[in-house]
Symmetry: C3
Subunit: 261 residues, 3 copies
């Protein structure tokens, strides 16, 4: 896993310095328990006393998942993953009215094959890292969340959405003439089941908050002004669970495994 | 896939001519945009302007899935599949009060091993062809649909059922002392989930339209007189989706597949 | 399968006689159609005329799944399995307010590696035997049913729970700092789907009877005094199904299997 970080850092170095990237997600020595520590596309605020970080996506205007953004996101996430003081992450948006608009179309058009490979690798790493995180991950969906934005939300352990009727969420790639990758599909099947996923993908459906809640695409709806406080409250419930057992059931490293056929 | 058609045609030729079979599903040169083109057990009416065909099962009295019927059904379906002017199929029944009664029991009793093999091969091809069709498939379930009839409906992309309380739908093989094949089961699991399928198959349950709608076995209920118009309206919604993307997600022929582990 | 019974019996013999164990679940020659035939931790009452046995767990105070209890349970179950006169089993509890408290923690602490292996083997055999039984199995959940108790219930074909608000059911291992084995998880996924299982296991959720019914963890709620009569009535419905077909769909021993790719 460390090798991935190296790749990420190397990519950054090759691209030269960019404003706001350095230090994103890191903690300076002697920092106060709660302070903003990112200045780029991903603002990370770690509350050391609670062991909870808020990752706020700020790739304005619509948090498109560009290669640059994904790279910064992955570095920020890995720093938190490696920080023993951080046990939970709340993923939310600093952009108005949108959680994330999904993959940046410009990364998929008129570029080299190498670029496409690098871009899709970053998308997949975002998916793998978020979905397999050892931290508790909660999505505070404070805006619309189509396509790749919906994938990010689905990768989290729990989804809270603002009940603003102007917002929607779903894998709508089909409507745009794009086919959602099969691992987007698999993640959705794990979340809402096979048949609801089938309809969603064939028609490229975007759901209103009540519809999304009804089919289980989000777990809870709250008034928009309460989304961050609700996420913090839910996180404290999750962190009351013995930490080392969360997600462990997925790994299979259990003493009785060898007894099974 | 073409080889299958050859097999089908050869089987027909070996059996000699049968009334109503020739020309089923085909289009005569210079045909008007909308006209009936089948005269046998499957009446196919293709609306070329809309790109939508209605396949009406007419194997009276109860649309039993005999080897002859399945053979004609498969030929009709393949002709539409190969017709670039046809993008959607509405599957419905011309028999009163029944969509399809399912597999013809007479094909499974007192015949040769070769016959059983040929019959089951046709059943499986019906399943594979319908389930994997490149066209949008909508079932307009205008009558009861037990056993193999339910399988046909489940193979479609969308299921509309007449809300007539005398109708029912389900895999009721167990009630008849027959065990539903595992691929019937798999198709049902994909439609209504594992637990509902378990109960359905163990008890051989037939559901009323409201029950079927509640568990997701059908997607929509309408008054019987509106079933064809509803199917046409739903089809136009589906065909508004970029056509080449429908079902494509199932194939995995995507540029980034090789990037996945 | 017979070899397992030998192992079980041998284990009993090696341990020496224990009160109440011998004869559990067996039927004495010339026994009346309905009489109690177990005197140990599992009381088996077989109604020969109906072909239905009631297995009442009586490992007081809370029906902990100790190695001794599991061993007796497995022997009782196998005797019924081999008794052609028994086609259905109702699993219930003779302990007040609890169905089963799940695995006996004392079996997992301060024992030898060999003991752990023997214990987990018995747990897995309980799971395999109950889940794959050829008999119809109905859980009459007349008390709380956490952890391994919930697993036992989930292994049955149908679950009826007393609607007493003091009772709860679920895989709560995580709350206790234990990770549920992956086959507990798989069984729950088969019962309530992937997402509900994910939340259940991550948070170690225990559900009230109405909650359990809503997510499908139990099939039916009844007043506590009616649970046994309801179980008997449901069983008679299940036994009206041709007996040899129940569960057969799971085996795949069907004549057309070879026709599938």
């Amino acid at each position: 896993m460390a090798a991935v970080a190296v790749t990420m850092v190397r990519r950054l170095l090759r691209s030269g310095p960019r404003p706001g990237l350095c230090g994103a997600g890191g903690r300076e020595p002697g920092a106060a328990p709660r302070r903003a520590i990112g200045h780029g596309r991903v603002a990370v605020e770690l509350d050391s006393s609670a062991g909870v970080a808020v990752m706020k996506m700020e790739n304005l205007p619509v948090n498109s998942l560009s290669l640059d953004f994904l790279t910064e996101f992955l570095i920020s996430l890995e720093k938190l993953e490696n920080d023993r003081g951080c046990r939970g992450v709340i993923l939310t948006s600093g952009a108005p009215k949108i959680f994330s608009a999904g993959l940046d179309i410009m990364e998929m058009y008129g570029k080299s094959t190498e670029h496409y490979a690098e871009f899709w690798k970053a998308v997949q790493e975002m998916w793998l890292r978020l979905y397999q995180s050892n931290m508790v991950t909660i999505a505070a969906i404070n805006g619309s969340s189509p396509a790749g934005g919906c994938l990010m939300a689905m990768c989290c352990d729990y989804r809270i959405m603002a009940e603003n009727p102007k917002y929607s969420i779903g894998l709508n790639e089909t409507q745009l003439g794009i086919v959602a990758p099969f691992w987007f599909k698999d993640t959705m099947v794990n979340t809402i089941g096979n048949r609801a996923t089938e309809r969603s993908l064939e028609l490229g459906l975007l759901y209103s908050p009540p519809e999304a809640h009804k089919i289980g695409l989000v777990d809870q709806l709250v008034p928009e002004e309460k989304i961050q406080s609700t996420a913090a409250a839910v996180m404290s419930q999750w962190l009351a669970i013995p930490a080392n057992h969360l997600r462990m059931m997925e790994n299979g490293h259990l003493p009785y495994v060898n007894l099974c056929r």
